[in-house]
Symmetry: C2
Subunit: 242 residues, 2 copies
């Protein structure tokens, strides 16, 4: 719009030679593309999409800025790539865990068992997977509480959630599906806050609880959520009696 300036000025001066060092071909066998994803994952988890610049990502990755645009087209492309990279692994792990639970328990399914089978793979990945998983969960938690995040969460995770809902419906046959969706939504809020390992609970409890102790979290979270689901069954039975 305000393009009233001369297009081609005759280059004012010589620039300084910038950084001189070995070209970061591949570092520890990992290529620039992977390093960029790792760096972006960490930074996006810390400060969100808008709080991170492509230059910060490139710097942390020890790669050149321009490589982001070569590999991922633009900043959103990078973000989506980060988001989807681990989703496959997580969804597969969940699917296997739910299947194993169903076939092991035969006909007598419980809400507690189904919820444990759904949540445990995430805890497991956070505890025993590479460190990137912690950033990843923090990122998902952050995006999940965003008005614009619904789109990408829906696209990536909802089919996986429906597997849980199916099993819960068999475990709690009296309860309408919409009650299960509501309860799942509450579960999702608790689960993502717990997995993000925000140290809210540490400060609140003055150190009595430590958010990073996932062994403490696992049993409590599953118990709490199962109790929540069962409370909705009770409520449904009471309402149905009227």
């Amino acid at each position: 719009m305000t393009s009233s300036q001369p297009k081609s000025l005759p280059r004012p001066k010589k620039k300084k030679p910038k950084r001189r060092g070995r070209p970061h071909r591949s570092e520890g066998g990992v290529k620039a593309r992977g390093r960029l994803l790792d760096a972006a994952e960490r930074l996006f988890a810390d400060r969100g999409f808008y709080g991170v610049t492509t230059r910060q990502v490139a710097t942390m990755a020890g790669a050149d800025d321009a490589l982001i645009y070569y590999h991922f087209k633009n900043k959103w492309g990078l973000f989506n790539a980060v988001f989807e990279r681990r989703a496959r692994v997580l969804i597969t792990a969940r699917h296997d865990s739910l299947n194993a639970y169903v076939s092991s328990s035969g006909v007598k399914l419980s809400a507690h068992g189904a919820i444990a089978a759904f949540i445990n793979p995430m805890i497991e990945l956070s505890q025993n997977g590479d460190l990137g998983w912690k950033s990843y969960f923090a990122l998902v938690a952050q995006i999940d509480n965003t008005p614009w995040g619904g789109e990408i969460i829906h696209r990536v995770f909802d089919t996986s959630v429906h597997e849980l809902i199916e099993i819960l419906q068999r475990a709690l046959p009296g309860i309408p599906k919409r009650e299960l969706y509501w309860a799942y939504n509450f579960l999702a809020g608790s689960m993502m806050l717990a997995l993000s390992e925000t140290e809210r609970v540490d400060r609140l409890s003055d150190g009595l609880c430590r958010a990073k102790d996932l062994d403490e979290v696992r049993t409590r979270l599953v118990n709490y959520c199962a109790g929540g689901f069962l409370a909705m069954v009770t409520e449904e039975r009471l309402a149905g009696r009227a």
Copy 2:
């Protein structure tokens, strides 16, 4: 660092006269400061701190950019002012609600009642307060799931949460305090996701549930959370028996 360029170029050209119109003295009786807070609240809720520019805030407020720096010192000052403005009201409403519950129910306190007294004021404000409350809750939900948000949430809300914990401890005398902190943390995750009115559950349930229907949310959320707390009591009793 790269300040090797000439310091004072001789101003290239005349600038265009920008916007010409009535000076937005006060609009509907509200002064610029308040309009800036309202606009910032909405925009920060939509896109987070880094996703919003001071210019966007000023434009939406119909005020001048420079007023932000006059009234709030800088962008973070604006953010904190937004965050703290409604906190007083909310904390007072909660305090009154909890007190009313305790004095009305005499000695027989219940987890269900305490949780309802804690959550209801927020639902009430979201339904019957001015529209800014919806933005505000969406903003708090977003900040709560952020690594850097713990600081401000702690400063603003934790004393209020301790009031709830006190009552819960009287309602559930058998349960150690740290279990209450864990359970509250799960409650907080569900509550903030519900109040942010993200339409996650709408898509997941294909329209069966509507996040914006807070009448549906209120009873279910309270039931669910109360069920979760009671499940932790049960678990505690079982563990104590070993």
